[in-house]
């Protein structure tokens, strides 16, 4: 393990050294649970999620690796990229997903979340959903060869960005369907809003809502530029 001359972990040590041994273990366990777990973790299960003081230490630990705590629903927690870190990665053009994977993910989000939400079938600002998008729909709307969509879906599934679901819809479509994956729970409130704005700008660029989003973005950039 990398360590400084005093034996401390250079990233985690400064936060952990303020805690007694039991609290150190509790905070590290919660760190592992929110960072590596597939799903949000109920706070009832871990002291460092339940207790506000320990949770503050956990938040500081996550902050040192560019992450933050994200609350999901009532009493569940996961972790996600801190907004300032996500902004720096975007500004650098950091993009680990190929374009085709992003295109397929957007289609799943549009059909499983954005359309059901616009029909009043989904409430809140979450990007998870119980409305599956069939594989046939993806092929039809993506207008890309099935042979390219399949590996993209495999990569998205491996990243937790989509998950398989049985197709329960009407019509001729059969077989596999997809839902947004558990990684979408990791979006911070600000990231959820940015994603919603981007989809509105892409899907209805001439709408009054898109104009309002553009105006807000321009005002925000202007304010940032003044700082």
């Amino acid at each position: 393990m990398t360590a400084t001359t005093d034996g401390q972990h250079p990233v985690f040590g400064p936060v952990l050294s303020e805690l007694n041994e039991r609290h150190r273990d509790e905070v590290l366990t919660a760190f592992a649970a929110v960072e590596h777990g597939r799903d949000p973790v109920p706070e009832a299960q871990l002291a460092a999620l339940r207790d506000a003081t320990l949770r503050r230490h956990l938040r500081r630990l996550l902050d040192r690796v560019g992450r933050t705590l994200v609350q999901v629903g009532n009493g569940h927690w996961t972790s996600g990229y801190a907004d300032d870190v996500a902004a720096r990665l975007s500004a650098e053009g950091w993009q680990p997903l190929p374009a085709i994977d992003r295109a397929v993910l957007v289609l799943v989000l549009v059909h499983s979340v954005a359309i059901p939400r616009s029909q009043g079938l989904l409430s809140g600002d979450s990007w998870t959903s119980a409305h599956p998008t069939s594989a046939d729909e993806l092929v039809r709307y993506a207008q890309l060869p099935r042979g390219e969509i399949r590996p993209a879906l495999q990569r998205l599934r491996a990243a937790g960005l989509v998950q398989s679901a049985p197709w329960r819809g009407r019509g001729p479509d059969t077989g596999t369907a997809y839902l947004p994956g558990p990684a979408l729970n990791r979006l911070t409130p600000s990231a959820r809003q940015r994603l919603e704005h981007q989809l509105i700008l892409a899907a209805a660029p001439e709408s009054p809502l898109a104009a309002s989003i553009r105006a807000k973005q321009a005002a925000s950039e202007h304010t940032d530029g003044d700082r």
Partner: protein
């Protein structure tokens, strides 16, 4: 520790171990794995023992599911058998092996499915493992080597893997 360190940790989290030029980055808390030709370095996060993914099992929580879990594990075992040339020594960087050698090892530990299905399973698993940094796969040369993630295994895990290595045909 600086803001840039946090950014490096975020990059590795999102894109897997990062390959950089030897003099370009020294993020805090990361192991630097030098490539055998010393032309590049892999950055690998170094987590304290009780902050690693194996804690999930103790808590009864699920990690991310792996496609074709059994075959993927068997192919990783075959890559280790072929590329960890000296198991009494360090696992990284190991040596390069031909895909045919890995296929032969995989054949020896898999069921009696036909060659075509076995080859498809092998290729799928090698590509999955390569995408996540567990192995390196040169599709043109049809060679496989160990990926930087194997260097994250601790002493206890390596001891178990040495036993596995010895038990494999």
């Amino acid at each position: 520790m600086s803001d840039d360190d946090a950014l490096w940790w975020a990059k590795v989290r999102s894109g897997g171990p990062q390959r950089v030029t030897p003099d370009s980055a020294y993020p805090a808390g990361m192991t630097r794995l030098v490539e055998p030709d010393a032309r590049a370095v892999w950055l690998l996060p170094d987590l304290p023992d009780n902050a690693r993914p194996d804690v999930l099992e103790e808590l009864g929580l699920s990690g991310f599911p792996v496609d074709q879990r059994g075959d993927t594990a068997r192919v990783l075992a075959s890559c280790l058998r072929c590329c960890w040339s000296e198991p009494s020594g360090p696992i990284w960087p190991g040596t390069s092996a031909s895909l045919d050698d890995v296929a032969a090892s995989f054949r020896a530990i898999t069921d009696t499915r036909d060659d075509r299905a076995r080859h498809a399973a092998l290729l799928g698993a090698v590509r999955r493992l390569a995408a996540s940094g567990w192995v390196g796969f040169d599709e043109e040369q049809r060679t496989v080597r160990l990926g930087p993630r194997v260097a994250a295994w601790n002493a206890a895990e390596l001891s178990t893997l040495r036993e596995l290595w010895r038990s494999m045909p």
